[in-house]
Point group: C3
Chain length 567, copies 3
């Protein structure tokens, strides 16, 4: 006899947890570079797609089949086992709920391995973790295995899901090595900012939203006063841990980097969510707040440790967020659980079992993933070539010139191809020498000196452009060509941080304004520009003077002086 409310609860939660895939996709692509955006969304889509298939074919049975010595479930190909008559929920509802959880573990890794992993290698990895690695340790905890027997408590998967992903991410990122340019020759970490923190933030909001399926849905029931109270409590503990973690990271980074760091705070909210997942049903709101607070420290110092000490390049911070906060949150159940936690008078036994579970699962995943990634590395290779990495995985792995066709400096053809091109050349072959008597150089000679034309090129700060434009208008100049350029200087600017790493900067955005004058004296233009731009500080800009041989106005065919008159 099935329960409508129990099944609805689980199915709606499954939909919300599925939607977390969108959150991961946005976080991971937002925190990395535009040239890899297509690759990253493909990895997120395909680990879910392949994961859904292999978890159905084999993983679900390994995780929830009748236990074999507490180690592994009895395989059940294509999840065909008959319905458990005691369950209030159809097996298919359990399958879809567990499928989206399995896919969550798999997808965590794509962020840590972003921007340099072969797509083929990633697909193989994701099949292995969803089909075998995750289901087996999952069986230990949720499938009636040995950790379940010991009383290990991981309600919704701080360790079973997130730490599994985090440890796999650690192994993968370590074996891959850092992205080109991530560390200086001296081993100093360099920031590689993501291409859209806005999309990254959207991803965090989506994940937080999905977590209201992840944690409360793990009651697998909505029946009975205790369960109903628990569902409600889980909403509050989940939300509070995330909120406190975000606030705490904000303050920590404000003190530590002088400014409240955007991407680290986004990671902080996720760390709070990861950490509360194990004990969301077992702690009070106040306990949840403490877990969030601790998760904040874990994620800030954890990410710094991984980045600066271990020198493992994790572009999105997945190891810190899912691995370290997941482990911490699981262990903290032994501290904050209302029933058995240290602070509520429990002895250390619960804490010990939690620690044992964390270590065991981490060891299992670490060893199996090390084997998996090593085999991949030795056979098909794990990492793309240096050239492919520089060009971006979108073009090298997917033949996609860019995920943002219109925003590249590109007109209406597009490519990032680096091989067969020729930038500037003019083919003189077989061009009849038309109109040679009208050739510009000849005419130029004939232009009287009084009509000498000059291009005044002004390069200055973008924020000064409006004043410059007004100054030019004031001396009667209304036409100019404006280009965004980058100025390269040798001084360093003020220190900015990106997730705790200093950002080097010696390419500064500038604006280049070109004014071609004939009768207006060049000196008038120069004087007016200097008046508009002068502040006395370094960076006021420079003015370059070039000779112009001729100017032709297309509409009228006028040349020289005439071509420059007001239209």
């Amino acid at each position: 006899m099935f329960s409508s409310v129990d099944t609805m609860w689980v199915l709606i939660a499954a939909a919300l947890v599925f939607f977390m895939q969108a959150g991961f996709a946005m976080v991971e692509t937002g925190f990395t570079r535009a040239k890899n955006a297509g690759n990253i969304i493909m990895k997120n889509l395909m680990d879910f797609a392949f994961g859904s298939v292999v978890y159905w074919i084999i993983g679900f049975g390994l995780m929830f089949g009748a236990t074999i010595y507490g180690i592994i479930g009895t395989p059940d190909l294509f999840s065909l086992a008959p319905q458990n008559p005691d369950s209030t929920i159809p097996t298919m509802a359990v399958l879809i709920f567990q499928t989206v959880f399995a896919a969550t573990a798999a997808t965590i890794v794509s962020g840590a391995m972003a921007e340099r992993t072969k797509f083929k290698a990633y697909i193989i990895y994701s099949i292995v973790i969803s089909a075998i690695v995750y289901p087996i340790s999952g069986h230990w905890v949720w499938g009636g295995g040995w950790l379940a027997e010991l009383g290990y408590h991981d309600f919704a998967g701080s360790s079973v899901v997130h730490m599994v992903g985090g440890v796999a991410a650690l192994v993968g990122a370590k074996l891959l090595g850092p992205r080109i340019g991530k560390y200086t020759k001296e081993g100093k970490s360099r920031a590689i900012p993501g291409h859209s923190l806005t999309l990254g933030a959207l991803g965090v909001f989506i994940l937080w939203f999905g977590w209201f399926g992840f944690n409360p849905g793990s009651t697998l029931s909505a029946t009975g006063d205790a369960t109903i109270a628990s569902m409600s409590n889980i909403f509050v503990t989940t939300n509070l841990a995330a909120a406190v973690a975000a606030c705490s990271v904000l303050i920590i980074t404000w003190l530590r980097y002088k400014k409240p760091d955007v991407s680290m705070t986004l990671n902080g909210a996720l760390a709070g969510l990861v950490a509360i997942t194990a004990g969301c049903d077992a702690v009070s709101p106040i306990g949840a707040a403490f877990i969030g607070l601790i998760a904040a420290f874990v994620v800030v110092f954890g990410i710094e440790f991984i980045d600066k000490k271990l020198k493992i390049d994790d572009p999105v911070g997945a190891i810190g967020v899912h691995g370290m906060a997941g482990a911490a949150g699981t262990i903290l159940v032994g501290v904050f659980a209302l029933d058995g936690g240290l602070v509520y008078g429990g002895d250390a036994s619960m804490l010990g079992i939690q620690a044992l579970g964390v270590v065991s699962i981490a060891a299992w995943v670490g060893v199996t993933m090390l084997i998996t990634f090593t085999i991949i590395k030795k056979t098909m290779g794990l990492r793309v070539s240096k050239e492919h990495e520089i060009n971006g995985l979108d073009v090298s792995e997917h033949g996609l010139a860019s995920s943002y066709a219109d925003f590249m400096p590109i007109l209406n053809d597009m490519s990032i191809n680096e091989h067969d091109d020729m930038v500037v050349s003019a083919a003189p072959v077989a061009i009849p020498s038309v109109s040679i008597e009208k050739a510009i150089p000849v005419e130029h000679v004939g232009i009287p000196d009084s009509q000498k034309m000059t291009n005044v090129v002004i390069i200055t700060k973008q924020s000064k452009f409006e004043e410059l434009k007004e100054a030019m208008n004031a001396i009667g100049i209304t036409g100019m060509t404006v280009t965004h350029v980058l100025g390269c200087g040798m001084q360093k600017g003020s220190t900015n941080y990106y997730r705790g790493v200093e950002i080097e900067m010696n390419l500064l955005p500038k604006v280049q304004v070109e004014i071609v004058v004939c009768k207006v004296p060049v000196q008038t233009v120069v004087d007016a520009a200097i008046r508009a731009l002068y502040t006395g500080n370094i960076g006021d800009g420079k003015i370059f003077i070039y000779n112009v041989e001729n100017v032709i106005k297309v509409r009228t065919g006028e040349e020289g002086y005439d071509a420059l008159q007001d239209e």
Copy 2:
């Protein structure tokens, strides 16, 4: 005895309302400039995070504790009051549902104060509104306070949530003053278009989606025929009001600005949602359609009034959408309520009570927020410095060079720092004078006149590029360098509008094509270009001729004429 369906209904609704935070974040960041994107998502994230914490600590008690003279609830620190035994829903479910409502009120303000508010000041404000201001007026209506006693009807919060946010937004934006450049010296409003209307639209869809939790979830029950019918009716009224408002704004702007305005129509949908929120349970679908229609007029003319008459700079239109449409929608309950509304034969008493409530709540929020913002202004300051505002709040408030690292005109270092830079210079110090005998100037002298090289620079419309390229190919020129530039002219183009405000434009996107020729006569190039570009209209473009001293092909080391031959 808890109810499964009631609790599920409320919890799922809470998740949906939480997700509205993502909607607000996308609307607010999309409707503002890229240089502030990181700051805006941080404000959205952090007002929810701090709001969740302080509403749990103090706000929930002030709002729902036993009433003290109808004015304020009895404080209940950390929401520890025992479960109400008559409720079918656990207190924790009510807490999370009310938390996400409180956060909605707070977050409305961030849009109106965007692009110029100190981050620290915003955090303080958001704590005050979530902890004290919102809970107290909320108590009046939903906590058993004096307005509830009078029979004031605001089912899901047109006034309690949205107008509270809108009034706070009005006070904040007024005290802040307009953004730099928002008004001309003559006081004329200028449009400052947002950096991604696509994300803004996504935000509107997310908000609309979340509203299906906001309004129907406010039944706080899913039990009994009347409630089930009401839930269903609320879905329809909510959707219809939004749909009619969007259609109406589309038509109004089409007539008023000659074209259907994108951002105003997006605001229109939101205004319909805000307006129906008070009476979504009390009106028929036809009544909802009328409320949507009226909301459309309110939002279009309200936003214009605020922008052009009051000269208050509200970058996203929050005052009009949430404040004015919220007030209007609440009052309109007295007109369209099936039970007691004017058009259904009610007398004016209901309308009077609705108006009284709106005025009272607006006064309460106006006064308390005026005090709050004034204290903030006098102490830590409300607004960033002019320089920080120009540079953008991402870099000045968060040390984040950009939320869109790859899309700035930036290569692989990045900065917007304006102080310590040096654009163009060459340090001659200590460079041994190598190969001086091969120096280019000398060689150039040796290049025969027949090999004179010329750079033909053509500046024209982007839409003409394809034709120009084909014309150049036809005369045998296959190599060119293309740059996006901006041309600055003195004529104004046709009038464009952005949310009712005319857009000035005298920087027009152009394409600059550079062709270096040697043997192809310059005149051939010029003639072909003119044939391709000529239309006889202003804007056909210009051609500039420069002398080139030398050209070197990197691959072969060839110089001059040889360097320009086809590869």
Copy 3:
């Protein structure tokens, strides 16, 4: 007597299906160009808004009113028919659920007609389909019409919703004709890549999420063991078909285009979802996997067929995804249905009825939409002018200069207006001849030859910039101006594909580095640059040498040699 769980199930599903509108908006805008982004989100918003209104006014009655000879429902203006006393769900819940379905059918078309349709024409079309065309064929299947009588099985709308949209898309796109530039003069299809595959992918995730309302919600009940089991099964079949289709398209494109194609794989997931919709309740998970597999082939070869053979320009692939996969999925119910399908021993009768229904619905929609679009074309016109299309529909249809103000090559004014501009000119009128004795040309003559200044312009690959910068630093040059340019060459690069269509590319992104030197010998710069850039391959770049007449440093007023000294 209403059912809480049934109504909740339907309402929550309605919210999820509504959210698919956001998914469509993101897919359609992401897969098209930035200059039309505002127009596309408006079409998505407004077809839902107008659709909601007209479906309520007339469509719902035509679809679900008492049948008139099995052809059409009895009209019921404003959906005022009394509640069916046998239903466990209020009529208003059914109305909102059916409204979001109707809007889905309408919105499919906007993608296929994107980038060239008059906004007004689109609004008219969307009213016609939502009010009349969709409800009538919908009545045949879901309203008790003649196909329902025959036993036609389309559970959640592969044909009723998706194929209806797909056929309308086919007719509309055919009548419109292809976008400018879509086909070469020889009729070869050219790729026009979308402006944000990231947002496109987000849209796919949102749609997949929403489909967990679309299909399972179509049970219209959550009561009873059979229904509960069916809801659960539908989650699994829906997910598996999508997953298998995505995996299959990945592999097909990998083999066919040599690389796994991003946008086609995204389409593949959607095709799987569309195809399973008809039979999601009737097939086993294994059947669903086969349907996903077949949908993969249908979508890849279907999109190629439409694009390359029929030469119908469907910018987002809607005809293939919704039309062809919808038809295929509906017919495949006759093959894979556990009860009556061919592979489970059924005879061909079910298959025949499925085929009959598909043909009938396609014919109905094809004819009515042909009439509708033809009338629109003959009266107000269907397609914007060539000029408007080139400039983009945002500016021409909505007066919106860009949806991405900050990312156009635009400073702080903006426009895409092509008419009234003047790029480069200097007005000499009425400028007093100030400081003529200090005029630059005169001074330049006075600059000694030893201080000759030269601009070395290096154009090379972006990926070589870091090495070039280091090489310049090594010879003491720390200042340079960097610009993103496009190099145009004649060779084709390696072949890239975008949804099966080869991408032409002869504009390649390049970096242009300008270095002005005075005492550093030009040859030193050239030699160092060649050492840094040389690889021996085509595309190494070129170096141009220009004479500089003068340089002025704004901060100090120094000229010539002095202006170039290190700050």
